[in-house]
Symmetry: C2
Subunit: 347 residues, 2 copies
């Protein structure tokens, strides 16, 4: 069994520490990937600290995984040794339900298997994530990565990228549409890049005037300061689509008011307290609120191929694994532009 | 100026009383309609009692109006004297904005002119509704009614009918889809009839077991008792579309949980307190919440023509105008199946 070096949380309270465990032997359809970079998602921190409940320890976090194929099973078709490969938020699903058959495994009727903080479908193995030297995954849940892109910048595409790409595609964002992106963090900065690349007129909506310059650098055409009542009033019924990436507590209504006829508010964040909805703000202009959760295997590969074509990667700050606990503290303070990525050579 | 007999609210506190006022002279594009029946909408009561604020008195309520054309302006094209005609929730709009140009005047950028409790676009005339002997309206906002249908039963189609027809069409309800209708009142009973007529498998969702029998009589295929936790659990992720007609305070989450992949919760009611939304329930299955407000002139006529073809009218209880105040009290107790309609001959 492949011995694996890693960093793990042993409980909700203490810092992550060096850890070792065994990956499974490569099965006929498995791909073994040497991990080169792993992105640091805010959900890593939520789960490490058991903020959503039900956390499983020891926990090796990380679901923005990129690396190189070092071994393949006898039936693997998509990969050969030496290929670049990625693993995202899920590593398995039932594969037989109607949603799995549509390659929308993130909505598996029996629930997808998360890359970490989850039990494998054998019900005895703890799935462990990408803060580790290597991973063994069924090829269905492994993605091809183009060598054209900066590999470290690709890592966050596996979660933050697909989480923003998928709802913008589902909402039909296209040339000339007016798209707002709320929040400029790991998700928001990729939302801006995608919406711009789809040809939309993109406005960053933020509580922080300091984000304006960076939003423009990322390609946003306009900036809307959401704490300015007059600016918000002037933008009433302006947008076709608003991608809301906020995961802090907030109110949906003020964003709903900004939507034009048949406008869509896309929700990808999970604030701790349930937001209220003003029904009249929904009825006016026949507005919608739509949730979206990562993307299926088909769309994730499509997104990665699209990024290769358009040269889209995340803006990142590379850290050694030894700084992971400090990185968590900085992430809480939003002190990162816009994603930490761990250089796994440092493990 | 045509003298008009009516019943009006003179203030928020007192019962409606007999009232007389003048309608405008028929303009070139106007149709003058002798009112034969007028439906009683719950929103009449809300506005009479100023429960939404800003009510304008004296107020002649009523926006489910059917009758016979008694005079037409020189430029009227759609009607001749003697035709059956209807007037619904709006009598005017700016006519020039992008939404009016799409004949979705209910979403007029400058706001539609309500049939009553509103100022006409001349900004001096109070628009007065259908608890009256006649109405004078621009033909754009007047609908043709087939003589094939029971005229009194048509009246509620002008508000309750289009309010449920439009979102079900927008959501693409069609043969074989699983549709839930929450609440069996004026709106809900028409929602059931429309969804059944579109070929959907229809489930009435209600807190009241006593509604099951009537739901079946109206064509519903199934009944879901929303106070029964086991029944609700068994219906998890079952529906493609849920039409939520509830206007009392309630929680959206329990209905969201019932939606399958890409399922839509359609909101047409306006509860006094803002409902909360659980973001995870939205993210799961990529669910949506969509508001909808009546329908535009084009779709309202389409709905009336569809009802003539399918022989759909509301289930009603006819009352004389003298019983309107008693009818309001019964409406508060949900003691009506499913709509009061005033016989205007009694005026």
């Amino acid at each position: 069994m492949p011995a694996t070096k890693a960093y793990a949380a042993l409980n909700p309270a203490d810092p992550l520490v060096p850890f070792q465990f065994d990956r499974r032997e490569t099965r006929p359809q498995d791909v073994q990937v040497e991990i080169l970079y792993c992105g640091v998602c805010h959900s890593d921190l939520h789960q490490v600290r058991d903020e959503w409940g039900g956390s499983i320890y020891p926990m090796v976090p990380g679901h923005e995984i990129v690396g190189r194929v070092i071994k393949i099973g006898s039936e693997v078709k998509k990969f050969k040794v030496g290929d670049l490969a990625g693993v995202g938020v899920m590593v398995d699903s039932c594969r037989t339900c109607k949603n799995c058959k549509k390659e929308m495994e993130q909505y598996c009727v029996e629930d997808m298997t998360g890359t970490y903080n989850a039990m494998e479908r054998d019900a005895v193995t703890i799935a462990q994530g990408g803060y580790s030297s290597q991973i063994v995954t069924d090829e269905r849940y492994v993605y091809s990565i183009s060598p054209k892109l900066d590999l470290a910048g690709v890592a966050p595409l596996l979660c933050a990228g697909i989480t923003t790409y998928s709802p913008l595609r589902y909402a039909g964002v296209t040339k000339g549409m007016k798209v707002g992106v709320v929040g400029l963090g790991g998700l928001g900065h990729l939302g801006v890049k995608f919406a711009v690349s789809f040809g939309a007129e993109v406005t960053l909506i933020s509580t922080s005037p300091s984000k304006q310059k960076d939003a423009e650098r990322l390609g946003a055409h306009k900036f809307l300061l959401s704490t300015d009542a007059q600016q918000m009033k002037d933008a009433d019924s302006y947008f076709d689509v608003i991608l809301n990436t906020i995961s802090a507590n907030h109110d949906y209504k003020k964003y709903l008011d900004l939507l034009d006829l048949d406008g869509k508010l896309l929700i990808v964040g999970l604030p701790p307290e349930d937001p209220k909805v003003k029904p009249f703000a929904l009825l006016k202009n026949r507005r919608s609120i739509t949730g979206s959760m990562i993307g299926g295997t088909k769309e994730t590969q499509e997104m990665l191929d699209y990024c290769a074509e358009k040269n889209i990667v995340a803006d990142i700050e590379i850290i050694p694994i030894q700084q992971i606990n400090e990185a968590y503290e900085r992430m809480i303070k939003n002190d990162v532009r816009y994603r930490f990525v761990i250089d796994m050579k440092t493990l």
